[in-house]
């Protein structure tokens, strides 16, 4: 494991835990504000990946942070603070995508556009579009674990804490997600690696 990255993650965790303690013990809105700023790029990036609807992101992120404010006293500090915050973001995200039905047929749209324009695309661009489209076609539980893995580099153990399921379930979901993405890319004519 990368030791520098691990040390940085550990010190971030200590800071986050101290802020959560201040929120829980003292209802310290300044601590919440600091936490809000620390998590904004990470959580909103994740939310944006899942919705593609920028109008919803602030509302969803505020929903996450309002829950942090109200439930900070329930945080037990046994898990990483980021896992706890993302477990809230995960639930907000689930609610949001149910409302949104955001999974549009991106690939169909892309292919139609390209066909109509007789557009010869660059091979690498096409592959990444295909992978992106395949990700968007995944079921929500599969999509979320793969996004948490690669957007925020969470380990399978941390994802299990965030999602609230056994680690083996996370591994199984990742396996199926990978298989579906690969199969989709192959079907659409993009050979794999």
């Amino acid at each position: 494991m990368d030791e520098l990255a691990t040390t940085s993650r550990d010190s971030d965790d200590l800071i986050d835990k101290a802020l959560l303690r201040r929120i829980a013990d003292e209802q310290d809105s300044a601590a919440l504000q600091t936490l809000y700023r620390r998590y904004a790029p990470r959580v909103t990036g994740f939310l944006r990946r899942m919705t593609q609807d920028s109008g919803l992101i602030e509302e969803a992120y505020n929903d996450v942070m309002l829950t942090v404010w109200k439930k900070a006293s329930q945080y037990r500090a046994e898990s990483k603070a980021s896992s706890w915050v993302f477990s809230i973001a995960y639930r907000v995200c689930l609610r949001m995508v149910k409302k949104q039905k955001f999974r549009a047929g991106v690939l169909d749209m892309l292919q139609k556009e390209r066909q109509s324009e007789g557009f010869e695309v660059d091979r690498t661009v096409e592959r990444s579009d295909l992978i992106q489209a395949a990700l968007e076609k995944l079921s929500i539980p599969h999509r979320l674990v793969i996004e948490l893995s690669y957007f925020r580099d969470f380990s399978t153990e941390e994802i299990a804490e965030i999602v609230g399921c056994p680690r083996n379930t996370v591994k199984t979901r990742l396996f199926h997600a990978r298989k579906q993405v690969r199969s989709f890319v192959e079907q659409q004519g993009g050979s794999t690696a």
Partner: protein, 215 residues
């Protein structure tokens, strides 16, 4: 594509046999953690040794890295970050630090209780907050087992709230001059076990079970 059936010896007598579907499955389950650099050193060594001799595993890792690069590219995309001011107005900054807050009464219930107290209805035994009450004062006998807790130091209001939530208890009487509180369990727990847990807390000098029902 051929799946290697080669066996390799690693770290003493551990073998990776890629023709064994269970071992392959186990290694495949490590792919994500491997790509994210979240495997420990011994598993990295094991994984890389296996990958060296197995095309399928090698390809799986390569494809996984492609997926990661598609997702991670988006990290650099500009997003307008939300403003804290948009949340600040929604925060309830009223103090949750009284003992009563631990009881989690909603405002309407609290209002009803206050009314009941005012009109003299002994609807529920209220929390005793009499600074002059002492431990030797005759206290109405409790109809249920109660834990009397003597604290080393008085707890701040916020600490009290945290204490209540930590142990899932309700404070039914408080003797401020003696750093003592009487509590009942909020949930159905073994009273003796709860008393033992409380005794291990560094903030507590003494815990006694009052009105313990005979076994």
């Amino acid at each position: 594509m051929s799946q290697s059936s080669q066996c390799r010896e690693l770290e003493g007598n551990r073998f990776v046999n890629m023709s064994d579907p269970d071992q392959f499955k186990e290694l495949e389950a490590m792919v994500t953690d491997y790509v994210n650099g979240r495997l420990d050193a011994s598993n990295v060594q094991r994984f890389e040794a296996a990958m060296e001799h197995d095309e399928i595993l090698h390809e799986t890792v390569a494809f996984e890295r492609e997926i990661k690069s598609v997702i991670a590219t988006d990290r650099t995309a500009e997003t307008q970050l939300p403003r804290f001011a948009s949340l600040e107005t929604k925060l309830d900054t009223r103090s949750r630090s009284s003992w009563l807050a631990g009881l989690r009464w909603g405002a309407p219930v609290a209002a009803a209780v206050m009314l009941a107290v005012v009109i003299g209805i002994n609807w529920q035994q209220p929390v005793v907050h009499d600074d002059y009450q002492t431990l030797t004062d005759p206290v109405a006998p409790y109809s249920q087992p109660v834990l009397r807790i003597v604290l080393l130091e008085p707890l701040s209001a916020a600490q009290q709230t945290a204490f209540i939530e930590q142990f899932d208890v309700q404070v039914i009487a408080e003797y401020r001059s003696a750093n003592t509180i009487d509590v009942v369990a909020d949930t159905d727990v073994n009273f003796a076990a709860l008393a033992d847990t409380l005794r291990q807390d560094a903030r507590i000098r003494l815990v006694r079970v009052l009105n313990e029902s005979p076994e």
